[in-house]
Amino acid sequence: MAAAAAVVARSSSLSKLRPILRSFASSAASDDNRILTIETFVPFTGHLIDPPSRAVDTTPAEILSFFRDMARMRRMEIAADSLYKSKLIRGFCHLYDGQEAVAVGMEAAITKRDAIITSYRDHCTFLSRGGTLLEAFAELMGRRDGCSRGKGGSMHFYKKDASFYGGHGIVGAQVPLGCGLAFAQKYSKDASVTFALYGDGAANQGQLFEALNMSALLDLPVILVCENNHYGMGTAEWRAAKSPSYYKRGDFVPGLKVDGMDALAVKQACKFVKEYALANGPIILEMDTYRYHGHSMSDPGSTYRTRDEISGIRQERDSIERIRRVILSHELASISELKDIEKEVRKEVEEAVSQAKKCSMPDQSVLFKDVFVKGYGAETFGSDRKALSAALP
């Protein structure tokens, strides 16, 4: 695509040093923190705001970490697909493959004091906040070593110590919750922000506008991030939204439209809006992204969109391939070094899966645990209360 040419045109003087650098490239590059400036594939579009520059400051270390992290996320989701088909994962399983750049770019722009809250499509966000593959797979398979001790499942991953507040099953509910997190950050004078992620399907929810109204009245440091993958389950955006320009739907709240398949663009946008939100209040980000899987594992994802569309996006906009091209054109690593990273990540994922498979199910006693923080010894019951009852601790 023409975008790749734009990247090459901007590459540094490294190209002259090609022969010398090649063999040292990736091990050096992953520690290399010199600033590289790379242009985003497409410019940002602003609503009631001047968009940030397309020139993104990054480092070779960061770019390589993007590659590794996105590859790991991609592998994790593909492994989850197999586990679901072998019935080791039950119920709902909503996969994020295709959207990795949003999770990875956002994390690069913020700290662990900034909060993130998202929907049920939360596996990769959990990983980007510092969750481990083992915790993820164990939770998916309902084992006691899962991040929610097997009590939550795919839709309910949390990591409070990294300010990741889940993991929510009710479409749109996470947006007012995220505004509440931002309220608390402001109340506590924490100088941090909250990113509340939601999809194009949730973007039409009334509670979103209610919360946005209050956030604007109170100048809350909240960023509403619409991960627009263009389909709310099986309904294309143009069938659900009279105006699918989600970055403009805030009306009086400014917005920015971002190429969500470009991790550097995501990083730039998140950095920009964090500063904005701390100073001014809410702002909306619309990430133009895409999910390769269907809505969930029960949805083949091909009845409402063509296979050509899916493969077209994979060919032209895939976030991992783009970073690969950036790495190669800036000679930060060789083709084989990148393949090695992919192999390592694949191995990491396989090991985590096999370790997770060995984890035990939660002990039966935890059925009644954590209903309350303080149960005062109140009685609780199983299905046959004469056979099973307990006192809530």
Binding site: H168, I170, A182, V373, K374
Partner: protein, 377 residues
Amino acid sequence: MLRVLRQKVGCGASPAMIFGQALQKVLPAGSVLPRKYSSAAKEMNVREALNSALDEEMSADPKVFLMGEEVGEYQGAYKISKGLLEKYGPDRVLDTPITEAGFTGIGVGAAYYGLRPVVEFMTFNFSMQAIDHIINSAAKSNYMSAGQISVPIVFRGPNGAAAGVGAQHSQCFAAWYAHVPGLKVLTPYSAEDARGLLKAAIRDPDPVVFLENELLYGESFPVSAEVLDSSFCLPIGKAKIEREGKHVTITAYSKMVGYALQAAEILSKEGISAEIINLRSIRPLDRATINASVRKTNRLVTVEEGFPQHGVGAEICMSVVEESFEYLDAPVERIAGADVPMPYAANLERMAVPQVDDIVRAAKRACYRSVPMAAAA
């Protein structure tokens, strides 16, 4: 009678000041409780009890804040939050737009972060607009996250019937909220209940649904020095035996406790000694106190204002059948609101809400003191 004129209600926490404020209020005519105390006794109405509890808890913990419609500048739709905006400022007393789903979600999110919100619903009928956040975002979070995300929030406001407000503004939600594991549901009756339970609710680390009653706000009750102390707190999950008795147990909550006490007076003149249990807590339900009482009296009448089907009384009856069946000498009787949306006309409304004579009649039935109704009548 001491007359202490004060401009502001609810500021300052000293019992002496509250005593002064309380005494300047004229007791409402037709106050339910017989006045057993001299005119120098400390009395407080439920509104003052709630206001003082909120004030004291906000003073003690800077993380506590209040949000809801008209709680600030309007001083509260029912004046429960009078004076609080002036004292604590707009950062801690927030007037919200009329958007329950949005502001309740914001409150729950703030609780996730560690603040202690008190979310007021102007009436619990409007809580239905936000019920997803109460149930799915608040009640279940601690469990789903295996203890990572606790939700120390209080949802409070008037519940049940007022007077002449019609079908959409009169529903009792005790049974709905008490259905859900992960929620605590409290139903104060007296000023002591209001103070002690609201303080307990605000201090509690779990989500609490606090069901008040509009018609009780103006009712005064005697309060001891212990109740007036700012550290006063009532335990959650414990019922109170308001009146001891031997022949029949009557359970009730909120306004119906007053009616049950009136019924007990009437019954006592006919030789029936009724034990009145003020439930105080619908979840956790104090099954131990209820069952102990029924094992003593062998007869039970459950009283509630809400719709009968799947109501609080149904749960109490089942609990007693499960645990104390052999002790029952009569079928459990159930008094509840009529199984109709609340009508407006005063005479129909009166038929739709339990009255004292309904409770008396049911108690007599439980004691086999009335002629059984003919099936084909």
